[in-house]
């Protein structure tokens, strides 16, 4: 009887330890190393924009807004990168945190945006751990995992190098 109790206790402890380890190893949603949470939004043209459609590509997910000065500084570079690295598998995706589409459409025309842009919402923001300031740039690898997350104005040279490293990896099958 005592032996059975000891065995049960050991099994229980082992189960608790296993759960604790698994829990510790899985990063929180939207964190580096975790699978990028999927979402579906509408582009400004009304077309669906689903993140998982870009699996196998290196995605630069840019949370931005028209009124955000650092975002306005970054975006011309993103347009340039999309043009230069698009063929290698880069996909820039813009998620605007503006409150309405009007200013975003005007901005897109002015800046010649050459990648899909959708209006964000609270749900998508919370899936990425909250977007509590702009810009936020997230690099997603070809395997759909978050490589890095840049809060605030990114170091664009460093970001470009990161993308280059990701683009050099073989496309996922």
């Amino acid at each position: 009887m005592t032996r059975t109790r000891t065995l049960l206790l050991a099994l229980l402890l082992a189960a608790v330890a296993f759960v604790a380890i698994v829990h510790r190893r899985s990063p929180p949603r939207g964190a580096q190393g975790s699978l990028a949470p999927d979402f579906t939004l509408q582009t400004l043209d009304g077309a669906p924009l689903r993140l998982s459609d870009y699996h196998g590509k290196v995605v630069l997910l840019d949370f931005w807004a028209t009124w955000c000065a650092p975002c306005r500084e970054e975006i011309p570079r993103f347009v340039d990168w999309q043009r230069r690295y698009g063929a290698q598998g880069l996909q820039v995706i813009g998620v605007s945190m503006d409150d309405s589409a009007g200013p975003v459409q005007k901005f897109n025309r002015e800046f010649g945006i050459n990648y899909p842009v959708a209006l964000g919402n609270q749900e998508v923001a919370s899936r990425y751990g909250g977007i509590l300031g702009l810009p936020v740039n997230i690099v997603i690898g070809r395997d759909g995992r978050i490589v890095s997350k840049h809060l605030g104005m990114a170091n664009l040279s460093q970001l470009e190098q990161e993308l280059a490293v990701q683009l050099s990896t073989a496309p996922a099958h």
């Binding site: 000065a69 945190m97 300031g133 809060l151």
Partner: protein, 159 residues
Amino acid sequence: MIIFRVRQRPSWILCCIALIAWAPVLHAQASASNTQAQPQLIMPEDLVKVLKSAGTKPLILNIGPWLLFVQAHIPGAEFIGQGSDPQALQRLRDRVQKLPHNSYIVLYCGCCPWAHCPNVNPAYAELRRLGFTNVKVLYVADNLGTDWVYKGYPAVSGQ
């Protein structure tokens, strides 16, 4: 030498006349810059102390974007809208219309780095223009996440 001095005199006189003529313009420019005075700041840690104290609480007005407000805001804060938006400034005027001019008001945004925030200065200037004398702006160096929420300061989500 004497001729030189005499010849120089008219130009000095002209300079003096020009300065006198420009004085009202310079005075007006100085007055305008006073109305756009730098905001009186309150640091995040000091606002936390105020919120936790038993003393009088300020009226906290959020003058940032809606999508950021609904994700996280300071408990008790009221949403006004972006200070850079004329409609939001009208809401701000409506909100404070019946308040005494010595009311303690704290404005905050936190949308982006302090130097780039488009909302703080217009909202602060508007309250000053209306005659409010006890207005402070929460100093958010980078954004509300980094400088408030991730530090564990009180925050709530929703409307």
